[in-house]
């Protein structure tokens, strides 16, 4: 489809982009804290940025993520393309402010530190980003990558998430990790020295053969080395992974759901005692050490994703300046509530288009080809209905300790308040009386036990929302 687009349009596209970028560029030197224009509400003018580095040295046995074995010559080109895509999306989105950057993957610690620097520079060149904005990256705890930590820091990275996964050599082997227990502890300490208070650990539980008592012991050991942030993931068997195949063939078993629930509960308890607060289902932090970037996702902030397979959610304020060259474009037109279509001069603001869910082309090579050829690698654009956005806000909110904020809700709900929909509802009242949710003036939030069954609670609330939309 792309290749059938007339050349002339592609040129127009490229010219538009240049023109727009130079305008942005000239304007930005004067913009600082009040960068956002008053023509639009501020939440459509800011975003967080996700950068996807798709390459890995090897494929872990539990992983079905979009990642590919690294090849040296692709690295440079990948970096160029990421920068190119970043320019495009910043321009299309009309974003004036980036609040944080996250480099994920894949294995971004395999990338050249130059990549980080170029992305960060490109951001600050076009939009406002606070000098203390959180810039995170994921790192594998191998000796080789540890050597690069200093350069990552000089490139601008200020927070690191170490993929420890386990402190058990046998399990690391089963998971297909390329680091030893000893190696990862040493990398962890190095990271702590470079990023004090800003080093996170990724851990995995409910691993094959794991017992509750071995998990508790392991966690005790980890707490001796940990910094102020821990992410805890239950191993999920994804179709298409080696681990899944082993499980299918009966060569391997994982703890039953009640056992893994026990493991999770024990961990929440131990981490709380050690001063880590569960601020999201799988994230624990000491005061002030929460990840700003991830919190942005959960609270409904816009995000731009660049790189193969990266997702984004934003209002494309300037899309009209570009021919639509995305390969697949889906427009969802279920009308919900009274809102939905363009909002004209609402509260004195200009009309702006609906928020979109965007996905970039999945495979690295085609993605790069598209970026080079057309200046972007967006594969799919879906206009989100108000209901869909609100469903996401519910789902994400119910995973966090703070819950759904009525302020964020109102930004998307066109004036239908959180209270109107939920606070008098019978199903919600049952949830409340069973101490699964709390209703306060500003928030609808899960209780501690509600957080543990967030998916079920979300399903209930989505039904309540559906019913409300239907009845309207």
């Amino acid at each position: 489809m792309l290749s059938s687009m007339p050349i002339i349009i592609r040129n127009v596209c490229a010219n538009y982009m240049k023109a727009e970028l130079s305008i942005l560029h000239s304007n930005f030197s004067s913009m600082h804290s009040d960068v956002v224009s008053e023509k639009y509400p501020s939440f459509v003018q800011e975003a967080v940025l996700y950068v996807h580095w798709p390459f890995c040295k090897r494929r872990c046995t539990y992983c079905n993520f979009n990642k590919y074995i690294e090849s040296e010559e692709q690295n440079k080109e990948m970096t160029n393309c990421l920068v190119n895509e970043l320019q495009t999306l910043l321009s299309i989105s009309g974003i004036k402010k980036i609040n944080s950057i996250f480099f994920g993957g894949g294995t971004p610690s395999l990338a050249d530190p130059d990549m980080f620097e170029r992305i960060i520079n490109e951001v600050t060149k076009h939009v406002y980003m606070s000098s203390d904005a959180e810039i995170s990256m994921e790192a594998n705890p191998t000796a080789l990558e540890a050597e690069k930590l200093v350069s990552f820091k000089s490139a601008g990275v200020n927070r690191i998430s170490v993929g420890l996964q386990a402190l058990d050599q046998r399990d690391l082997n089963i998971l297909g990790r390329d680091h030893s227990v000893k190696e990862s502890i040493s990398v962890l300490h190095q990271a702590k020295r470079l990023f004090p208070g800003c080093t996170s650990i990724d851990l995995m539980f409910a691993r094959p053969g794991q017992t509750t008592s071995s998990w508790v012991k392991e966690l005790e050991e980890i707490l001796k080395h940990a910094d102020d942030h821990i992410s805890l993931y239950q191993l999920t068997l994804e179709r298409g992974t080696e681990l899944f195949n082993w499980y299918q063939k009966g060569e391997m078993s994982v703890p039953e759901s009640d056992v893994s629930a026990e493991m999770y509960k024990d961990a929440v308890c131990m981490l709380a005692e050690a001063g880590y607060d569960r601020y999201e289902v799988s994230n624990f932090a000491r005061p002030g050490a929460q990840s700003q970037h991830n919190q942005a996702y959960w609270s409904g902030t816009q995000y731009i994703g660049i790189g193969p397979g990266a997702h984004g959610r934003f209002v494309p304020l300037n899309q009209h300046m570009y021919p639509d060259t995305s390969v697949q474009r889906v427009t969802d037109n279920h009308s919900m509530m009274k809102i939905d279509e363009k909002v004209s001069f609402k509260n004195g603001y200009l009309t702006y288009p609906p928020r979109e869910a965007r996905i970039q082309t999945l495979e690295p090579s085609p993605w790069m080809k598209e970026v080079i050829k057309y200046g972007h690698g967006t594969r799919r654009r879906v206009k989100q209905s108000t209901k869909e956005i609100l469903q996401e806000i519910i789902m994400l909110g119910m995973r966090t300790k703070v819950g759904i904020s009525s302020k964020v809700w109102s930004e998307y709900s066109n004036g239908v308040s959180l209270r109107e929909i939920f606070y008098e509802n019978e199903l919600v009242k049952i949830l409340e009386s069973n101490e699964l949710v709390e209703l306060t003036d500003g928030y609808l939030r899960p209780t501690k036990s509600g957080l543990t069954v967030a998916d079920s609670v979300t399903a209930e609330l989505i039904l309540v929302l559906d019913k409300y939309c239907q009845d309207k």
């Binding site: 397979g309 995973r399 967030a454 079920s456 989505i462």
Partner: protein
Amino acid sequence: MPEMFSVKAIFACARFTKHLSPGKHAGFPWLYCGHWINNEPRNFQRSRNYFTCSKLHSQEKKVCVDMGEFPVENIRNFSIIAHVDHGKSTLADRLLEIAGVISKKGDNQQVLDTLQVERERGITVKAQTSSLFYTYKGTKYLLNLIDTPGHVDFNYEVSRSLAACQGVLLLVDANQGVQAQTVANFYLAFEAELSIIPVLNKIDLKNADPDGVASQLENLFDLKEEECLRISAKTGVGIQDVFESIILKVPPPASSPTKPLKAFLFDSTYDQYRGAIANVAIIDGSISKGDKITSAFSGKTFDVSEVGIMYPDRVPTGQLYSGQVGYVIAGMYNIKEANIGDTFHHPGQPTEPMPGFKAAKPMVFAGMYPIDQSEYVSLRSAIDRLTLNDSSVSVSIDSSPALGQGWRLGFLGLLHMDVFNQRLEQEYNANVIVTSPSVPYKAVLKETKLNKQDYGDTDEITINNPALFPDISRVEKYLEPMIMATIITPDEYIGKVINLCIEKRCEHVEHTYIDQKRVLLKYRLPLNEVIIDFFDRLKSISSGYASFDYEDNGFEPADLVKLNILLNGKVVEELSTVVHRDKAREVGKHICTRLYDTIPRQLYEVAIQATVGSKVLARETVRPLKKNVLAKCYGGDISRKMKLLKRQAEGKKRMRKLGNIDVPKEAFISVLKR
């Protein structure tokens, strides 16, 4: 034309004759027939009708028959009766082949079994007839084969078919010997005073023991060993003897061509375009295309647009004469107008009507619901069309909060129900949920003001729906339907069979050795105990050797209770069931387990209880979820996760909310379904 005699009509005629002049004709109706034929030979010299029978196995066949060629004395009407699988349809194929009705290409597979379900299951569901012409010692005979359904559930059809016969072939597998249904069929024919020709089939098989089986027949039925024909319907051995026996041993029907028309309707089918196709036996007189005929039952008059014989498809002949069997199409577009058992006469010439048939009474009830409610309308039309041809199915509209809109259907028995469902699926492509079958109970009410107010003057009510089960305080006694079961089994399994019957609350009636190794048992059993798994279990404990047949046997007082199912303390009415008190705990446990297996763990605990009155007989608890949240959710996970959760929410929408819990449709189905 081939002159078709409805065997049944002739039988009926015989009875009628008996009534008119006892002593003279009783028992010898054929003498009477011979008499009138001799006196009225001209009646049969009519113009010849030519007809083409084109539908037969894509083979064009020109048949030229003058129905007048066949005086009553040259007519034989007979049925074949047999236990399932003893080769009835194969024998019918051979007879039709030899008589030239169908070609001998060797691809004739149960020609008279026209339904897919009949061929697949090797059973005959719907009676079919076919006329045959056979020349014996220079005389051309008209033989009318009236095929009968091969299962106990269809006994009413068997007796209908037999009413049109003067004789039967009692077909017995020479390997398997007498089976339960052989016994039942024998007595049906015996009571109808038909001549019975015993035929031993499958003598070509290695293990055939025709002598042993012949002596069983002698022991049980007093049929002389030397009178047993020995044949193989498959290879064709002995088939000529069958023809000979039919001609020599079966009497011709008793009919009078001089009397006014008297046509007996013994079966009917429905054609979408032509309305009812009435199978008739001409007792007296004759019927022609263009005649007007009047129903003795309704008084309505119809125009006869077509008259013919079955050969085995419909072949128009223009006329049918006394003693013959055929079909009549007379613009009866409402199947109810072709009332089975009705007698037709020419307008203004009424005759004494034949005694009709008692309407078959449904004994097994089951709910039937479309799997998807959007298929309700198409399922309704499928059921309508099937019941057009099977008036023994009772239909009432029903609805269930879990299963939606549906019907409660009454069947004659389990097989009848199975066959009906299978036909719905095969012929109408319908997807249905069939609920576990139940039987009609009765309650004898106390004489109280309240009962009078609720039930009127009646002191006995029939309960088809557990929701309407009256409380014991208002009832003198409950009654349940009984059956008389005939079981024939090799004696090595007798212990197990007796134990099974005891478990099913049996009452012993009879225990007879029919030969050295095999026993005939008669038990009186509650129908309720038989409808679920009795037959399957009997087969499995006897390695398939025991055979089983039953007939209805009145009602008996029984200690019945209503078993309630509670979810978190609330009665779920549609899961209630009526059971015998002794079985309540077992059934309750079973239902609780099924619910436990199908209700998913959810946010809240689910207590499942089975109760009778205030007494809890069984309990299961579905513990609440300990954890239900996917581990990771960042920018790239949101779309996928949202999809999963929306699906979960959609799934919940399809579940039924009972208080704070969600019960999936599958849970109801697992309990309600067979």
